[in-house]
């Protein structure tokens, strides 16, 4: 049978000739085989093959009629060094035996894989070109041949479509990469400031994406239907500005506070009507409102957790300290830097980092005075706790005071007293972190640890503040609810009085009162929404103003006052500010938390946030490039990526808690919002199930909600979590074991080394005389008539020396000569 490894030239002939050729072909093949076996040198074989090809060519020319496709490929193959499989070239598929067909298929697949993997091969361009060209020609020649007789055209068509599809995919990928917003800006920042600062902007962009989706949900499914299909402004009491407020409903000050016309619009909860289905589409407004609220939270959870999982995959859980110096040497240069100033800084920071690491390595566990350090750390924590408690009380006090002011009417107070709460919270957020920074100097931690403590404390500060704020809000809600009873009573009185007036003519036409005149029930949900919106606006303003003053003004002053100042402002005290990555990221995270908290009561919040992030992106990009200098100590971008995601997740959880609490426990206001009139907000689900779905579904749900079913289900989930956690723990341990195995030698009694050739001197059965080429304990000995390095002191080898006996790992190192 014909051997592999030969290329042939063949022409396709008619059936009759084919038979003859086949006979001839096999004879020739046999001849070739014989010749192949006879010669060993490649060159001779090639020569012979050429001769044979010429002979065949002449013969086939004589005997055949060329009447069909030509399957000529190039005859010469110059790739002598390739290990590519060159399969038997009988090009007529009908005459190929199944094994040959298989082999041909394999070869074609291999070539395809080769072409795809070509990008990742470390070959010079010329070699890539020639390989690509050759593989493509091979494929062209034989791919078509593999298609069976009648389906050949279809096969070729499929191949062509595949190629077109590949091209399309490639173009599409290029297009999508070009479509990513702000990519150029971020790359520019990266080249000036390094990847840590750029990571903040990438995080900002990612948040922008999330907020766009949330905006789409709330805008498209809640605000637009109500605006288009709900009852218009002024048709109902809850949708109209009350008569008393009408005079200043259009004032800018009122609008800025989100009162007046802004309050009675689709932006807030109170505007929505509790009618079950609105418009000609019969859009279920209350249901949609509820589901959008739940959906935003669910979507956010999904996205954050998916991102965390992806980050965890990438980092792969490596051990940070085992290759400390090697990583510093080989990977610390940031190839993305394209700016001499940044390069200078990078050099300096690399040098500093080396010096630091050397210092740490040199000074061995020198705890000079551990008691003092511990005492100082306890003291520092105590101080920090005091700060946190103090700030919490301050906020509570301020909120209480503003409640008092609200009762007395806001007009009597100054601007400061009206916005006290927000201002105080923003100011605390600005000054307390600095205070924490100063306190942390007492602690004397490693800078990375100190940074984590700092972030943790700022986190606690913001959390504490936010929760105090919420508790104050809850007080207000309770107040409003008490008010409700009073108002309800008043309303019945008012209606009664109306009817009394018309009691004389009992058949009077229905009384028309302008909706603005109808007494209104209090609406705590709108109030909550307003509070959140105000908080976010003031936070945004504070951030921008701090940016402008703290960064821009400072830079301007330093730049221009430097000409006439005694000391060098640029190098000395104020100098230019650095971009505070962690502070900004935390601010972003907390803002997002507030959005999540308030989105249920103020559907306009995601829209507001999208606008805010958009402006922030441009403003901060400009500010960074214009007023900031690159950091001196380059903050490691990679390590904290999951740290921020984890904080985001915690915030998400904590911010949905209050919303869920209010939904579940507090009954909705009777006079405003899509759930007015219901006992609890989630009753809308019940109502939908009963009225819109067939009867059996509600039965199914009632069974599913049965505690007898829910509890075992929860138990099952707990068990599943426990199981998954224990398997993941065992995988981690297995990982560690394998890593250790890589570093330690095989245990001595193992004499069968998994290399093909045994290094000289080791025979099976030589106990204790294992060859350790690099071993410092081994000595040269004459073993038989060979020089051998033999280790005879393994029993004395300590753990630390074990690594040096790595000569047995011949299967890791390729072809090392001992």
């Amino acid at each position: 049978k014909p051997t592999s490894g030969r290329k042939r030239r063949r022409r396709r002939e008619s059936k009759k000739e084919r038979k003859k050729d086949e006979g001839r072909g096999s004879r020739n093949a046999q001849h070739a085989v014989d010749s192949g076996e006879r010669t060993e040198k490649e060159r001779q074989r090639k020569r012979r093959k050429d001769r044979e090809e010429k002979a065949e060519h002449v013969q086939s020319l004589d005997k055949s009629k060329v009447n069909s496709r030509d399957f000529e490929g190039e005859g010469e193959d110059e790739e002598v060094e390739e290990e590519e499989e060159e399969v038997e070239k009988e090009v007529r598929p009908e005459t190929l035996t199944p094994e040959e067909l298989e082999k041909l298929k394999e070869a074609v697949d291999d070539k395809k894989k080769l072409i795809q993997a070509l990008r990742g091969k470390p070959w010079p361009m010329k070699k890539k070109h020639s390989t690509l060209r050759e593989s493509q020609e091979f494929l062209e020649k034989y791919e078509g041949a593999l298609g069976k007789g009648k389906g050949r055209k279809l096969y070729a068509y499929k191949v062509m479509m595949n190629k077109k599809w590949m091209k399309f995919k490639r173009d599409f990928e290029n297009f999508t990469t070009a479509c990513i917003p702000w990519e150029m800006k971020i790359k520019e920042i990266e080249s000036h400031f390094g990847s840590s600062v750029a990571s903040y902007f990438i995080f900002l962009r990612w948040m922008y994406g999330i907020n766009m989706i949330l905006f789409g949900l709330t805008f498209g499914l809640v605000m637009v239907p109500e605006a288009l299909m709900g009852r218009p402004y002024g048709s109902m009491p809850r949708k109209t500005v009350p008569r008393a407020e009408e005079t200043n409903a259009m004032d800018f000050a009122v609008l800025w506070d989100f009162g007046g016309y802004a309050q009675y619009s689709v932006l807030f909860y109170g505007y929505y009507n509790s009618q079950r289905a609105i418009g000609w589409l019969k859009f279920r407004m209350p249901l949609s409102y509820f589901l959008v609220g739940v959906g935003t939270v669910a979507y956010s959870y999904m996205v954050v957790i998916r991102k965390m999982a992806r980050n965890a995959n990438e980092t792969g859980g490596g051990d940070e300290n085992s290759f400390n110096f090697s990583w510093k040497t080989f990977t610390s240069w940031d190839y993305l830097i394209g700016n001499p100033e940044t390069a200078d800084n990078k050099f300096a920071s690399i040098t500093t980092s080396f010096k630091e690491a050397i210092l740490e390595e040199q000074e061995s566990r020198k705890d000079d005075n551990i008691h003092l350090t511990r005492f100082l750390r306890v003291l520092a924590n105590f101080l920090v706790l005091c700060c946190l408690a103090g700030s919490g009380y301050l906020i509570y006090f301020v909120v209480r005071r503003s409640q008092k002011f609200a009762l007395e009417g806001f007009e009597n107070h100054t601007w400061w007293e009206r916005n006290e709460v927000n201002m105080v919270m923003s100011l605390l957020g600005m000054f307390c972190p600095m205070l924490f920074d100063v306190i942390s100097a007492l602690e004397n931690y490693h800078p990375r640890v100190a940074l984590q403590w700092q972030l943790g404390r700022i986190f606690a500060l913001f959390l504490g503040n936010l929760y105090t704020f919420i508790i104050a809000l809850m007080d207000e809600i309770n107040l409003k609810r008490k008010e409700e009873d009073v108002v309800q009573f008043n309303m019945t009185m008012w209606e009664a009085s109306l009817h009394n007036n018309t009691a004389d003519n009992s058949t009077a036409p229905p009384l028309f009162t302008h909706p603005a005149d109808v007494p209104r029930g209090p609406c705590w949900e709108t109030m909550v929404g307003q509070e959140f919106v105000r908080l976010i606006i003031s936070d945004t303003m504070t951030t921008y103003i701090t940016l402008l003053i703290g960064d821009f003004l400072r830079a301007v002053l330093v730049r221009f006052l430097n000409y006439c100042w005694c000391w060098d402002l640029e190098a000395g005290f104020p100098s230019y500010s650095e971009f505070d990555v962690s502070g900004n990221v935390l601010g972003l995270i907390f803002n997002q938390g507030m959005i999540w908290m308030g989105a249920f009561y103020a559907p306009c919040l995601p829209a507001l946030n999208v606008l805010r992030l958009h402006v922030s992106m441009y403003l901060q990009c400009w500010a960074v490039m214009c007023c900031n200098v690159p950091q001196e100590r380059v903050f490691k971008a990679s390590g904290s990526n999951n740290f921020y995601m984890a904080m985001l997740l915690v915030i998400l959880f904590l911010s949905t808690l209050p919303a869920i609490y209010t939904i579940v426990t507090i009954p909705p206001s009777f006079d405003c919002g899509p759930f007015s009139g219901k006992a609890r907000m989630f009753d809308v689900i019940q109502e939908t199930l009963e009225s819109d779905f067939p009867a059996w579904i509600s039965k199914v749900f009632s069974y599913a909600a049965n505690p007898g079913l829910v509890l075992p289900f929860m138990l099952l989930m707990v068990l599943a979590i426990y199981y998954l956690q224990s398997t993941s723990k065992s995988y981690k341990e297995a990982n560690v074991e394998l890593k250790k195995k890589l570093q330690m030698p095989l245990p001595p009694p193992v004499v069968a080394m998994p290399t093909k050739e045994r290094p000289p001197g080791t025979q099976p059965g030589t106990r204790g005389k294992v060859n350790h080429p690099g071993c410092r304990e081994s000595r040269a000995r004459r073993d038989g008539d060979e020089d051998v390095r033999v280790c005879e002191r393994e029993d004395l080898c300590s753990e630390s020396n074990m690594r040096r006996h790595a000569g047995n790992l011949g299967w890791l190192t390729s072809g090392q000569n001992i």
Binding site: R119, G120, P122, K128, G318, F330, I337, G639, G807
Partner: protein, 182 residues
């Protein structure tokens, strides 16, 4: 750019497009020396740009290893690059190149004497280039010893490609630090 027509055979274009964003890189190459680089590449002219031009590109200008990078990717080992070498270089430096490819070339870059091993001398040179000679000799020696300790698996006093890859594969930042020119 503009109304200049670059001439490449369709086959060449197709071949190149598989691995690099070709047009952009070719225009960068040409911009370095417009008088040397012809527009018509169908006859595969033998044009080499000298190292000084390559080293002055903004992406490489501040890189301490630019000379080694040019040497590794150039055909003659001196840093003078043809178009193929240029494309090679940026295809490896781009974000799309797989990690193993980058590790392979990183090894070559740090191997100053081209003997397929990173020996102590190579490490010393790497370190000095990285810190611009700011570390004292003692410190340099200490760091090189630590690196050898950490990375040298077979304990022959020098790092082979496998040792290097073993270290690099676990480094969290390695993938990020390469980019394509814009």
């Amino acid at each position: 750019m503009g109304n200049k027509q670059t001439i490449f055979s369709a086959q060449q274009l197709d071949a190149y497009q598989s691995y690099v964003p070709f047009q952009r890189l070719f225009s960068r190459y040409r911009d370095l020396a417009p008088q040397l680089v012809p527009l018509d590449y169908t006859h595969q002219p033998d044009v080499k740009l000298p190292y000084e031009l390559i080293g002055s590109m903004p992406e490489l200008k501040d890189n301490p290893f630019r000379q080694r990078i040019a040497e590794v990717f150039s055909e003659d080992g001196e840093g003078n690059m043809t178009l193929d070498d240029f494309l090679d270089m940026f295809s490896v430096l781009s974000e799309m190149a797989p990690r193993d490819l980058k590790a392979y070339y990183a090894f070559k870059i740090y191997d100053f004497n081209n003997d397929d091993f990173i020996c102590k001398l190579d490490l010393v040179k790497t370190l000095n280039k990285l810190t611009r000679n700011e570390l004292t000799e003692d410190e340099v020696r200490m760091v090189c010893e630590k690196v050898m300790d950490e990375a040298d698996m077979d304990n022959d006093g020098r790092l082979s490609l496998e040792d290097f890859q073993h270290v690099i594969v676990r480094a969290p930042e390695f993938l990020r630090y390469r980019h394509t020119p814009q």
